[in-house]
């Protein structure tokens, strides 16, 4: 990190305790300026707590949070140049849409007319100008969500915090909003910190993702890093679908580890730091990076028998039982069916793995 100025939010050894319960265990992470950053994890992992600490609604028990180099611990929420899009939107029900959006600007000392003009522009940005005189209850969920977004963006915060803002929307609307949010982030150039438990949402929108579990940071990286190179069991299991296999590492040579997965099956993959010879660990292989053939394509073809084919629209999921070994899930894209073979249940074949598909995990 040569220039610290580019760090929007710097969380250093932040701990949050509620009585005996520790919600956050020493989290450190840096969120870059102009970044779409996602805190991802199951409920109770501490992601919302961390967001609320940045917003100023929760005090930091230990450690510190810096906003563009300034410590913000002693600033109340109304003195922090960050705004929040709340999970339930929290639009003021007794005010019109326009007044809702103008609220933050007025509180920052803008005149009523100035605030309203700016609020009007924000409503235009989210394409809701025609609703400015309505009350929040007269809008649909998706529209309310956009108002909440406009309201939080209107005072031009340095950082925008989004607390699972899409969770109340139906699937189609959610997908549309994901793209809209991403575009809005690019247009405004404001740093977004997005909290979600939906891994697909996180992968779609984020520049970087922090995967959290039980109050701890599990892995931090770009979506492809997290998906392709999960660091541990939790990340591999939580992000996407994967084959988790227990393997014993028999040898490591030239950065490649030779692993046994029972039933005499052997695989080689890249060695990772923290996993030595003789250890029994887990290996993750994404089902879409496996394919089937009649004869082994490489030396690592695993012999087995088809148990079941499941048609899921875009893909066909095949469950394979290896000889005296574990079950494998293989996913074949419907569009790949010309190149990749689908076998009938009961047929014996080989499961092959694309290069680099297997990943050893630190438990």
């Amino acid at each position: 990190m040569s220039d610290k100025v580019n760090i929007a939010i710097d969380v250093r050894d932040a701990v949050k305790r509620y009585g005996d319960f520790t919600a956050l265990k020493k989290i450190s992470l840096s969120i870059m300026d102009n970044e779409f950053f996602t805190l991802l994890g199951p409920s109770g992992c501490g992601k919302t707590t961390l967001l609320r600490m940045i917003a100023g609604f929760e005090a930091v028990t230990e450690g510190a949070i810096y906003l563009y180099g300034d410590e913000i611990e002693n600033l109340p929420p109304n003195k922090r140049p960050v705004n929040t899009v709340f999970q339930n939107y929290a639009l003021f029900p007794h005010m019109t849409i326009l007044d809702n959006v103008a609220f933050g600007l007025e509180m920052r000392g803008k005149s009523k007319s100035e605030a309203r003009t700016k609020a009007g522009e924000m409503l235009e940005l989210v394409q809701l100008s025609q609703f400015s005189a309505r009350k929040p209850s007269q809008l649909s969920g998706g529209q309310q969500q956009r108002v909440a977004l406009a309201r939080a963006l209107a005072p031009q915060p340095k950082v925008l915090l989004l607390d699972e803002p899409l969770s109340a929307l139906d699937l189609k609307l959610r997908k549309a909003m994901q793209l809209e949010l991403k575009h809005l982030q690019r247009e405004t150039g404001i740093t977004f910190i997005f909290v979600t438990h939906d891994q697909e949402e996180a992968l779609t929108m984020s520049d970087r993702i922090a995967v959290m579990s039980a109050g701890e940071l599990q892995q931090l990286g770009a979506p492809t890093d997290i998906y392709e190179r999960p660091h541990n069991m939790f990340v591999a299991d939580f992000i996407g679908e994967t084959n988790l296999l227990e393997v014993s590492v028999d040898g490591i040579e030239n950065g490649r580890a030779t692993c046994h997965l029972g039933g005499g099956h052997e695989l080689t993959c890249n060695a990772v730091e923290g996993v030595g010879i003789g250890s029994t660990v887990h290996m993750s292989i994404r089902p879409e990076r496996l394919y089937m053939s009649e004869t082994p394509v490489e030396t690592e073809g695993l012999h087995g028998r088809i148990k079941e084919n499941i048609f899921v629209g875009t893909d066909i999921t095949t469950i394979v039982q290896l000889d005296e070994g574990p079950d494998f899930v293989v996913r074949t894209s419907n569009s790949d069916r010309g190149n990749k073979r689908i076998f009938e249940p009961g047929v014996e074949m080989f499961v092959n793995m694309e290069l680099g598909a297997a990943r050893l995990l630190v438990d």
Binding site: G56, N78, F86, A90, F92, H94, F103
Partner: protein, 269 residues
């Protein structure tokens, strides 16, 4: 919708008991109201419709006494209800937004205790208190007593309302650069308003109608409407009492109706 089998209306005696209860509750009020329009001097003989007893209340021999009493009653009710509502609003804010503090249950008990204690006990206690501190009885003692016993009546609708307001609204206000004071006045207070109005009206009615406590703590010669009516009745019931009771009843009905509709308007939706 409940299925027909469990429809309470199908139970034997449902209609009879309902009617009986309604009659017991409201027949006296209906009779008083009807006979307040009686042209006769007698309480029981109907001699045709007339407004003479209403006129009697305003210009009859007792009109001066009633006017002074009514003025006292309304002044006390307005001031007592306003003060009690302000205190109850603050109490509700503290109780609902104060988080879990140590004496929360105890505090709630203390606030609502006057509703449970027999009014006569409250009346005697208040009287003894004023006597022991040497407070001379008069309008002011009535007012202070009314403020005290009106607080729980104002508190209940206000705190009920407040419990329905999520604290994320205030958080959103704080997040949007409002000070705590602005978050209270611009967001919380408007959202609480239906509860506050409802609480005010309830307190107003309770104060206006109160007899027992007022009778104990009032000074000699100071009357409110209920004590004045009682004084009149002691000298024999005249039809003008029915007229004045009917008017008091109408005020109550109007207030309770407004209170009902206000509390039903939900400005959080």
């Amino acid at each position: 919708m409940a299925s027909k089998q469990f429809d309470i209306k199908s139970y034997t005696g449902f209609k009879g008991i309902t009617l009986l209860c309604l009659v017991i509750l409201y027949a006296p009020l209906v009779v008083v109201t009807i006979y307040s329009f009686n042209a006769s001097q007698s309480l029981t003989n109907w001699e045709g419709v007339s407004l003479r007893w209403y006129a009697d209340v305003f210009i009859g021999p007792e009109s001066g006494k009633f006017k002074t009493a009514a003025k006292n009653s309304f002044i006390i009710a307005i001031i007592a209800a306003t003060t009690a509502t302000a205190i109850a609003t603050l109490a509700a804010t503290g109780m609902v937004r104060g988080g879990k503090f140590r004496f929360r249950t105890l505090s709630f008990g203390l606030i609502s205790l006057p509703l449970m204690v027999p009014e006569i006990v409250l009346a005697v206690a208040t009287l003894i208190f004023f006597n022991s501190i040497g407070f001379e009885r008069g309008l002011l003692t009535i007012l202070l007593a009314h403020i005290a016993f009106c607080i729980p009546f104002a508190y209940l609708p206000i705190s009920a309302r407040m419990q329905g307001i999520e604290d994320s609204y205030e958080q959103a206000a704080l997040d949007l650069y409002a000070t705590k004071r602005q978050a209270f006045t611009k967001i919380l207070l408007p959202l609480m308003m239906p509860g506050i109005i409802s609480g005010f009206l309830l307190a107003f009615i309770v104060s206006l109608d109160d007899f027992i406590i007022t009778n104990f703590v009032k000074g000699a010669g100071v009357e409110t409407l209920p004590t004045a009516i009682f004084g009149s009745v002691k000298q024999g019931i005249k039809p003008n009492i029915m007229a004045i009771s009917t008017m008091l009843l109408s005020v109550s009905i109007v207030m309770v109706t407004i209170s009902y509709f206000v509390s039903k308007t939900d400005n959080t939706k």
